[in-house]
Amino acid sequence: MNSLKRFARREPSAIAAFVILTIVAVGWMLNTPRLSISAIAIVIAQTLPLAMVACGMAVIIFGKGIDLSLGMILTITNVIIAYLSSNGMPVLLAALIALVVSLLVGSVNGVLVAYMGLPPLVITLATSSILAGVALYILPTPGGSVPRWFSNIPLLLIGPIPFSLILLIGIPLLVWYPIRRSWLGTAIMAVGEDDSSAFTSGINVRAVRASTYVLGAAFTSFGGMLMTMTSASGDPKIGVDFTMNAIAAAVIGGTLLSGGRGTIAGAVAGAVTLRLIGNLLFSLGLNGYWQYVVIGTILIAALGVPYLIGRARANSRPELRRAA
């Protein structure tokens, strides 16, 4: 209880994310006829890929970066698995190869941004264009296939609990929690907060920043694997929406774009919220394209409103303004 209180004080926006998630989830449940465990399992399975990419994006943003190529890293993972698997390679080996390729791409991004000091936005836009081309080379049109047992993984039920729920909580917990508790997690947050004071306290700023891009690519590659399970085939255009939605999920989950602040749990909650908003709009009978408009609005509001509140508070209490 005490640790929960401390968490709430340190990351108020993560708590806000979970409150929003609860509201949207209840709204979705009330508007969904014939709600069942398997219906919930399907929704979670559909959310999994975005949740993973959102975790990856969040880690990169913690270190004050951004990666617009994550959508394409997901795509590359998807087409590599679908292509190799339909050409007779065991699917797990194909997934491993896809993971290695993704980590390589993440390292290239990391080196270009952290070691050469190039602006992450344009750099990752350029690598994203290269990856889109490579994906089209591997798989010019949607196609390929994976074994049925592989595509059934997210829909498994372990007793009454959907396996997808275990993955949704388990993967971020297993990958990020040990890192966050170690020196690396502290270093990432320190680098995100302030480069030069992190450097003065003996942190290898470049290596730490580069590592966030590799971690982000790893999370995204897991997302690509889960996406391949869900879609059961490859598609060179599959990742287009992911980059924007992952940024939105991270921001809604309380990650500060200025770096150094945020939680992975918030990013997962943000991803589930986005998914449920889409489903809620659908069950309310609105055209699915409304979700683009709604998500864009939420993103601007999530960033703009806290600033306005902060300024209003500073105006009403001048001593705060001086402190800021």
């Binding site: 050469m116 836009l125 350029a126 089209l136 940024i247 683009y292 864009g296 609005t297 703009g304 600033y307």
Partner: protein, 331 residues
């Protein structure tokens, strides 16, 4: 008042201006050299391009990209970015083709709507960035998503309507051998923006904001006004390019504007404008636009697939960033 003080200090302090010009001299020449090399290679290895028809069609494409690149150039000059330009083009393309319905009588309405889309999107972007302090990238990414969703909602994903004959003639009818109306419009707007950047108070303040927002603010530049104005110009230019696209294509297709997002950034970067803001201008972007268009169609002609083009093009952009950014960083 701030305007006069800046205007006064401008000419009376020539020293920093000179040193800046000297230190970026490689950058100001490089874009034009690159264009010359790309042109030489293309004309040598793809002789078909020497015909006036081919030159005219390259110029048409440059006109489209060039107009979008004006707004993008201004945004990057203040160390910002506008990711919504392609979506603005797409939405304008869909809307104008819909209301034109193949008739000249509907041209004024289509032009009015073009201006409305550009102004609205630009104002929303500018206010979000300058007043709500939403980061440029996320703000324009959000409006981009909203615009694409709106485009779908309006058209349901199928193309409706046709361009008016007038705009088709403007964009496609050739005169003086290789020129079309769209190309002339591009050149006029481009020269206009060069003059604005070099001679006007707005231009000087824009560079000041690009070099350091805090310093500009402290010396009395109204940073928020400049930033909002830049995004409004970018919105209007992108909408104008969308209208031109309708005339160029003759109808509308979903997400025709999409590729212009990356292309416009690439044209500005290859044109030597610093991605860190404050250094560069549209003179280099003229050549950047030319390089992108010629390079892409050359890659197409030598038989490189869509995939190969994307790779080559991403690689060229990456190379340019690595070459330029090291030097730009030093300034």
């Amino acid at each position: 008042m701030s305007a006069t003080s800046t205007a006064d200090t401008g000419p009376s302090a020539p020293a920093p201006a000179v040193s800046r010009r000297r230190s970026v001299s490689i950058q100001t020449i490089a874009p034009h050299l690159i264009l010359l090399i790309v042109l030489a290679v293309t004309f040598t290895f793809a002789p078909g391009y020497r015909s006036t028809t081919q030159v005219a069609s390259l110029l048409q494409l440059m006109g489209l990209l060039g107009v979008v690149a004006i707004g993008q150039n201004l945004a990057i000059l203040v160390a910002g970015i506008d990711l919504s330009v392609g979506a603005v083009m797409t939405l304008t393309n869909l809307v104008t083709a819909l209301v034109m319905a193949g008739s000249n009588a509907n041209m004024p309405l289509a032009m009015g709507l073009t201006l409305l889309i550009g102004l609205t999107v630009g104002l929303v972007n500018g206010v979000g960035i300058a007043l709500l302090k939403v980061p440029d990238m996320v703000m324009t990414l959000a409006t981009m998503t909203m615009l694409l969703g709106t485009g779908y909602l309006i058209t349901g994903g199928v193309n409706k309507g046709n361009a008016s004959p007038a705009i088709v003639t403007f964009m496609q009818a050739r005169f003086a051998g290789v020129l079309t109306g769209g190309v002339v419009l591009w050149v006029i707007l481009g020269i206009g923006i060069i003059l604005v950047l070099r001679k006007s108070v707005f231009g000087m303040q824009l560079y000041a904001v690009g070099l350091s927002r805090r310093a500009a603010q402290a010396s009395g530049v109204r940073v928020a006004v400049i930033v909002i104005a830049i995004y409004v110009i970018s919105g209007v230019m992108s909408a104008l390019a969308g209208l031109m696209l309708t005339g160029y294509i003759g109808s509308s297709y979903y997400d025709l504007g999409g590729p212009y997002q990356l292309k416009s950034i690439a044209a500005v970067v290859i044109g030597g404008t610093s991605i860190f803001g404050g250094v560069g201008g549209y003179g280099g972007t003229f050549s950047g636009v030319g390089t992108i268009v010629v390079l892409l169609s050359f890659l197409q002609v030598v038989g490189l697939s869509d995939a190969g083009q994307q790779i080559a093009y991403g690689a060229v952009l990456l190379l340019m960033l690595i070459l330029f950014a090291r030097q730009q960083r030093k300034n």
